[in-house]
Amino acid sequence: MALLKVKFDLKKRVKLAQMLWLMYWFSIIAGVLVLSLGLFFKIELRKRSELMDNNESHFVPNLLIGVGLLACGINAFGGKICYDSLDSSKFSKWKTIMKPFLICCLLFNVLLFFTALLCFTMRIPLQFTLAEGLKNGMKFYKDTDVPGRCYMKRTLDLMQMEFRCCGNNNYKDWFEIQWTSNRYLDFSSKEVKDRISSNVDGQYLLDGVPFSCCNPSSPRPCIQHQMTNNSAHYSYDHHNEELNIWKRGCRDALVSYYGGLMNTIGVLVLLVTILEVGVMVGLQYVNTSLSTLVNPEDPESESEGWILEKTVKETFTDIMAKMKAMGKGNQVEEGAEGQAVATVS
């Protein structure tokens, strides 16, 4: 007994075809939307590629772009079939392709769903990529005279100002690296010599941060240097100071930004999946209703439409049997198998 059987007369068939045609247009737009989201995401990743580890993967945006293009193609084809379904002479040429096309649609919907899931889970590898990338970025902050790294300072400064963050985990990360280029250090002065001899690597470390960490909402001018020394500044206690510089670490800021972006994209792709499943079901109804005309000569006769000819269980056993038969295809035992297949299908 068929799954979700519905009776169709000519009027209902025409209405179904028209509605389905409209839905296919929406699906094409949805496909374009997915494509543009993939492009946008790719551009956003590219923009900050300097702050990410070298082996950052562009798999998800590439997949989104591919799926978007595929969606446009499949939906355009489906729309054409739908348009022709109103004219039985034109529809007959599509009859043979319908079943493979519907299976194709089903596989495509599974792929869409898989893409949506990927969008939600991509957050985790991104976190690791960003942690590595930011750490290296900060190390190369001072190398404004090294070709290939001379824009790292500007990139980091602009990023800290835009995302309102400081350092990798927090501002103290800047205390552990030298972020002033050696060109601007007076090696003859006592202060510089003391600082350099105070650590193993001979780096000029200080308890200060770059200006891009400063928070404009602070009521007092920004305190960037001698941050842990309360007596260096009037009325200053670095334990209580909240507004002076950005408290958040840039890794958290970037992950939450990209995570939010991916969540939005994932939700949209899920909605597109639901739409695609809807049009696929509609096309199956159109297909079955036009194949089961009571009187094949008379276009105005009644017909029935369904999603599956048998129940889910029986269809599943059918498929398993067919696959087994294909597996034993060339064997001479076909006689018994063939009869079994004939009775079941």
Binding site: S181, R183, Y184, F211, P216, R220, C222, Y234
Partner: protein, 357 residues
């Protein structure tokens, strides 16, 4: 002798009506675009309202919004008239409305030009307003504890970061004001006492700038304090230092930004003006050519269309006469009005016949 007379066959009239209907839709869309640009410009001006002293420049977006809305209405009406013009029975009902309609439309279209001219003419006023506004902003930068002014610091910092600028004219403007709040100055220290005593007003002035003036493109960490003292920093000379701070003043940066906005809007508005004028001229031709068809048996005759029935000068003289008569009637002077009314009656009737076209 008529102004710009053109012969119209029936086919041509129909084509004119159809083309005009399409054009009126295009003009309506461009009217909507004008409203949108007016709204956008107003939003941009309101966003920076804190650093502007006067609101004179707001007349430009206000005018744009007004004219845009009027233009949408004008074009909808033109489209409706156009639709009716193809049906000779329905067209006559628009007869009386069209002359005032043309006057009003011309007025609003002229206002479009006025808004473009104003956007250029008000540039000095904008600059003055920004100069004063920024001067106050920099003066009140330190007042983060005064209600009503406590966000001035944040506003100026964000402005300098976003527009890549420092100070009013240049960074030296910061040397002339105290931009550090007294709450954070240690008045017992010698350095503070020296600085405060060194000027008449007792202000803490220093040769330093806030962090928002720093240029991220600089290869070295930002030097904000002791800017004029070459010895205070290694390998530093303030005269040749280009990249350390932003070189531009915020007034110049903002004026450039708004002028570039208004240039773009100005060119868009000029094209809207051209479209609108085309619509009005075409409608006038349609009206005059349809008039001659009125009352005729055969709808498909050839007629003439024109812009003005008489030459410009004559039409103007007639208009003046009409206004004078109207004025006299309103005044209600009995005897001179009666005599003149008797004398003017005959030519006035003739004039009545023609302008109703």
């Amino acid at each position: 002798m008529t102004l710009l007379k053109i012969k119209f066959s029936f086919q041509r009239r129909v084509r004119l009506a159809q083309g005009l209907w399409l054009l009126s839709w295009v003009a309506m869309v461009s009217g909507a675009i004008t409203v949108a640009t007016g709204v956008f410009l107003k939003t941009e001006l309101v966003r920076r309202a804190e650093v502007m002293h006067s609101n004179d420049i707001h007349i430009v977006p206000n005018l744009l919004m007004l004219v845009g809305l009027a233009s949408v209405g004008i074009n909808i009406f033109a489209g409706k008239v156009c639709q009716d013009s193809l049906d000779a029975t329905r067209f006559p009902r628009w007869k009386n409305v069209l002359i005032p309609y043309f006057c009003i439309s011309l007025f609003f279209t002229f206002l479009l030009l006025v808004s473009v001219i104003l956007s250029y003419a008000l540039q000095p006023s904008l600059e003055e307003s920004l100069k004063l506004g920024l001067k106050n902003g920099i003066r009140f930068y330190k007042d983060t504890d005064t209600p009503g002014r406590c966000f001035q610091k944040e506003t100026i910092d964000h402005l300098q970061i976003e527009f890549h600028c420092c100070g009013n004219t240049n960074y030296k403007d910061w040397f002339e004001v105290q931009w550090i709040n007294n709450r954070y100055l240690d008045f017992t220290s010698k350095e503070v006492k020296d600085r405060v005593r060194s000027n008449v007003d007792g202000r803490y002035l220093l040769d330093g700038v806030p962090f928002s003036c720093c240029n991220p493109a600089s290869p070295r960490p930002c030097i904000q304090y002791q800017l004029l003292d070459n010895a205070a920093h290694y390998n530093y000379e303030h005269q040749s230092e280009e990249l350390n701070l932003y070189n531009r003043g915020c007034r110049q940066a903002l004026v450039n930004y708004y002028m570039s906005l208004m240039n773009t809007i100005g060119s868009a508005v000029l094209s809207v003006f051209l479209i609108q004028m085309t619509v009005l001229v075409s409608l006038r031709y349609l009206q005059t050519s349809m008039q001659a068809v009125e009352g005729q048996e055969n709808m498909e005759i050839e007629t003439e269309g024109y812009i003005l029935e008489k030459g410009v000068k004559e039409t103007f003289k007639e208009f003046q006469e009409k206004v004078k008569n109207f004025y006299k009637q309103v005044q209600g002077d009995v005897s001179p009005a009666d005599e003149e009314a008797a004398g003017d009656a005959a030519p006035a009737e003739e004039k009545e016949a023609t302008p109703t076209s």
